[in-house]
Amino acid sequence: MSDAPEQNIHIDPYERTWIRISIGFLIFFIIMIVVAGLALGIQVPTDEGRVNPNTLDAELPWSEPGLREIVPGEEYEVYIVASRFSFNPREITVPKGAKVTFWATSSDVQHGFALEGTNVNMMVIPGQVSKLSATFDEPGEYNYICHEYCGLGHAAMFGTVTVES
C-alpha cells in the first residue's frame, strides 16, 4: 500500500570493488608497519621516565653529558642536553660499526633531534627523556639537527657524530 521508496544504502558494483581494494591496501600497509617494527626493529620513541628540567646540573647522568663506552668498539651510550641554542656535547666520535644509543632531554624549551642518514628522529621535551639507537656501518660525519623551533637561534643548533674507520 505504502508508496514510500524502498530504503537501502545502494552501493554501485564498481564502488563495491573500490571499497574492497581500499580496505585491502590499508590492511597491507598495516602489515608492512608491523614487519618494519618487529622484523627490522624500527621502533618509535616510548615512555622513558621523567626528569626535572630545572635541576639537570645536579642530577646524574644529565650533570655529565657525553659519550659512555659500554662495550669498546661495539656499544656506546651518549647523554645529550639540548639548550638554546646548542647541544651538549656538540661533537661525538665513535668507531665504525658502533651501536650508539642516544639519550636526550631539554633544559629549557622544546627541541628536536634528527640524525642524518638514520632512523633517529625524536622530540626533545623538557621534563621528558628521549631515547633511540643507531648503528653506524659507514665512516663519515653525521649531523644531528634541532628540528623544532626553539627561538631566534634555532637555525644554528646542530651537532656532529664522527664515525672513524
Binding site: 514510500a4 521508496p5 524502498e6 530504503q7 544504502i9 545502494h10 552501493i11 554501485d12 564498481y14 564502488e15 573500490w18 571499497i19 581500499s22 580496505i23 590499508l26 600497509f29 598495516i30 608497519i33 618494519a36 617494527g37 624500527i42 621502533q43 618509535v44 620513541p45 616510548t46 615512555d47 621523567r50 626535572n52 628540567p53 630545572n54 638554546r84 629549557d108 624549551v109 622544546q110 628536536g112 634528527a114 642524518e116 642518514g117 632512523n119 628522529n121 625524536m122 622530540m123 621535551i125 623538557p126 621534563g127 621528558q128 627523556v129 631515547k131 649531523n143 639537527i145 628540528h147 623544532e148 623551533y149 626553539c150 627561538g151 631566534l152 634555532h154 637555525a155 644554528a156 646542530f158
Partner: protein, 556 residues
C-alpha cells in the same frame, strides 16, 4: 532510478543574511591577503634571497613572518571562510532562516574581537611562537586570549547552526535532512568536540602559567592536548571542501550527486574518526607509550577509508556530469568538463593535488615510517597539499560563485580567474615536490635554511625550486584576491534574469531511499564519544594525574 523529481521552490538568502555571510568572506580574504605576503619571503629565503632585513616593516624576523603566515592563512582565513560558507549552506540547504540569528552574530563578532586581540601581540613581535605555540615557549597573554575567543566564537556560530537544524527537523518530520545542511552541521559538531583539547590546553595549563598562578607548564601534556585538536583541525579545513565536491561541484559540471547514502556515511565516519588519532602527530614524542602510538596509527589509517570513498564518489559524479555534457570514451568525459569555469577548475585542481596530499598523509600516519620525515620540510610540503590546496583552492573556487551570488555582481575577468588556477597549481607542484624531497634528505621544517650552517651544497637546486614555486603560488592567489575585490567593488550589476545561483546538486537517487540510520545523530555521537574515551582516556588520565608543572616560560 527516479530521474526528475519535483524540486521545491527555492528560498534565496535575504539581504541581511547575504551581508552576514559576506562579512565572513571579507575578513577571510583580508587575512589571506596579508598572510600570503610572507609565503614568498620564506620560500625565497630558502633560495638564498633573504628579504626580511629589507622589508622589516613586514616582520622583524623569519619566525615572526612564519607566525603571521601560519596564523592568518591556516587559522583565520580558513575559520572565517568556513563559518561563513557553512552558514550559507545551512540556510540555503534547509530553505529556512537561522533559528536565532543573534546567536550567530554574537559568535561572529567574538571571532573578530579574538582576531584583533591576537593580532596585537603577533604584530608587536610579542607572540613569535608559530601557530603551534608549544609551551614553555611563551607569548603575551593577549595571543592566547585572542585564540580562545576565535575558537569559542566559532563554537557559538556552530550552536546557531545546530538550533536551526533542530528547528527544521521539528518542522519536517519523516523527511531526510538535505545532505548539504547535514554535512555542514556535522562539520561544526566535529569541530566542537575536537577543539576541547586546545581550549583546555590554553585555559588550564598555559594561561595560569603566563599569569604566574602556577610554577610553569607540563610541555608533554600540552602537546597531547594540542594534537587532540591539531589533526581534526585538518578535517575542519577539508570537510567544507568535500561538501562542495560532493554536492555542489556535480551541479556546476551539469551532473548529479552519485550517492546520497555514501556521502552521508562518509561525513558520519569523519565525525567519529577525526579526533581519536592525534598521537600520530606525536610518534617522535618521548612521553607517550609506543603501544598507544600504534593504536592511533591504526585509527589514522581507518580515517583514510572515508577519503578513499570520497575519491571514488566524487570522480564518479564528475564522470556522470562529463558524459551528460557529451564526453565519450574512457577519458573523454574529463575533457568535456567545464574547465573554463574558474570555480570548477580551481576545485578540480584542488582535488587532483589532494590525491598526493592523501598519499602523503597515509605515509605520515604509518608509525615507524614517520621517523623518516617527522618535523622535516616534508611536513609543510604535505600540508600545503591539504590546507593550501584541497581546502584553500576549493574555497577560492567557491568564492568565484559565492561573491557574485552575495553581491549580485558579475565575476570580473573570469578567464584570468581560471588561468590563475593553473598558475597556482604549477607553483604548488614545484614547491611541494621540492619540500618533500629535501625533507627526506633531512632538512628540518620551520628553519631559515638559507642561513642554517649544516645545509649541504647539493640541496641548492631544491631550495631554488622552493623559492621559485612559492613565488608562482603567490601570483596565483594575488590574482584571486584582485578578482574578488574588483568583483565586489565594481558598479556593474547582474541583470535579474542572470543572477548567480547557489549550486546544489540533486542526488541520482531520491534521498528518501537513504536508510534512516544515516540521518540520525544519536548513534554516531555516542560512537564518537566512546571512541575518544577508548583511544585517549587512559593516556589523558595518566598524563593528567602525573602532571608536573616544572617548565617555566621562555620568550622566543
Amino acid at each position: 532510478m527516479i530521474e526528475d523529481r519535483v524540486t521545491q521552490p527555492t528560498r534565496e538568502l535575504t539581504r541581511s543574511e547575504k551581508r552576514f555571510v559576506g562579512i565572513h568572506v571579507i575578513f577571510a580574504v583580508a587575512a589571506l591577503s596579508i598572510g600570503i605576503q610572507y609565503g614568498p619571503m620564506q620560500a625565497l629565503e630558502h633560495a638564498g634571497l633573504d628579504l626580511y632585513p629589507k622589508m622589516s616593516f613586514l616582520a622583524s624576523s623569519y619566525y615572526q613572518g612564519l607566525t603571521l603566515h601560519g596564523v592568518l592563512n591556516a587559522l583565520i582565513w580558513t575559520t572565517f571562510f568556513i563559518t561563513g560558507f557553512l552558514t550559507l549552506v545551512v540556510i540555503k540547504g534547509l530553505e529556512r532562516p537561522l533559528r536565532y540569528p543573534w546567536l550567530n552574530r554574537i559568535g561572529f563578532w567574538m571571532m573578530v574581537v579574538g582576531l584583533f586581540t591576537a593580532a596585537i601581540p603577533i604584530l608587536g613581535n610579542q607572540a613569535t611562537v608559530l601557530y603551534t605555540f608549544y609551551p614553555p615557549m611563551e607569548a603575551s597573554a593577549l595571543f592566547y586570549i585572542g585564540l580562545v575567543l576565535v575558537v569559542v566564537g566559532s563554537w557559538i556560530e556552530g550552536y546557531g547552526m545546530y538550533f536551526t537544524f533542530y528547528a527544521w527537523r521539528k518542522e519536517n518530520p519523516g523527511t531526510r535532512s538535505p545532505f548539504v545542511a547535514l554535512a555542514a552541521v556535522i562539520t561544526m559538531v566535529m569541530w566542537q568536540i575536537a577543539t576541547i583539547g586546545i581550549a583546555s590546553e590554553i585555559l588550564a595549563i598555559i594561561l595560569p602559567s603566563v599569569f604566574g598562578w602556577t610554577s610553569g607548564t607540563d610541555p608533554q601534556l600540552s602537546r597531547t592536548l594540542f594534537w587532540f585538536t591539531g589533526h581534526p583541525l585538518v578535517y575542519f579545513w577539508v570537510l567544507p571542501a568535500y561538501l562542495s565536491w560532493y554536492a555542489m561541484l556535480p551541479k556546476q559540471v551539469g551532473g548529479k550527486m552519485f550517492s546520497d547514502s555514501l556521502a552521508r556515511l562518509v561525513f558520519w565516519l569523519f565525525l567519529i574518526l577525526s579526533t581519536p588519532l592525534g598521537f600520530h602527530h606525536q610518534f617522535a614524542d618521548p612521553g607517550v607509550p609506543a603501544g598507544w602510538k600504534f593504536i592511533h596509527a591504526l585509527l589514522t589509517l581507518g580515517v583514510s577509508f572515508p577519503s578513499l570513498l570520497t575519491l571514488f564518489t566524487v570522480v564518479a559524479s564528475l564522470e556522470y556530469g562529463g558524459r551528460k555534457r557529451g564526453g565519450k570514451g574512457l577519458f573523454g568525459w574529463i575533457r568535456a568538463l567545464p574547465w573554463s569555469n574558474p570555480s570548477v577548475v580551481w576545485q578540480l585542481l584542488a582535488g587532483l593535488l589532494f590525491v598526493f596530499g592523501g598519499i602523503g598523509g597515509i605515509i605520515n600516519a604509518s608509525y615507524n615510517v614517520n621517523l623518516a620525515l617527522h618535523n622535516t620540510s616534508w611536513v609543510p610540503g604535505h600540508f600545503h597539499l591539504t590546507v593550501a590546496s584541497a581546502a584553500t583552492m576549493s574555497f577560492v573556487g567557491i568564492s568565484f560563485w559565492l561573491v557574485p551570488y552575495l553581491t549580485g555582481k558579475p565575476l570580473w575577468r573570469p578567464k584570468l580567474a581560471a588561468a590563475a588556477a593553473w598558475i597556482y597549481f604549477g607553483g604548488m607542484v614545484i614547491f611541494s615536490n621540492a619540500m618533500h624531497v629535501i625533507g627526506l634528505l633531512g632538512a628540518p621544517r620551520r628553519t631559515p635554511l638559507g642561513t642554517a650552517p649544516y645545509v649541504p651544497g647539493e640541496w641548492a637546486g631544491h631550495l631554488w625550486r622552493i623559492g621559485f614555486g612559492g613565488t608562482i603560488m603567490w601570483i596565483g592567489l594575488m590574482i584571486f584576491i584582485v578578482v574578488v575585490a574588483v568583483t565586489a567593488l565594481q558598479r556593474k550589476r547582474l541583470p535579474e534574469d542572470q543572477l548567480v545561483e547557489v549550486p546544489i546538486a540533486e542526488s541520482i537517487r531520491d534521498p528518501q531511499m537513504t536508510p534512516e540510520w544515516l540521518d540520525r545523530w544519536r548513534p554516531w555521537l555516542i560512537a564518537a564519544v566512546v571512541l575518544i574515551l577508548l583511544s585517549y582516556g587512559p593516556q589523558l588520565y595518566e598524563q593528567i594525574t602525573q602532571i608536573q608543572l616544572t617548565s617555566p616560560g621562555f620568550t622566543p
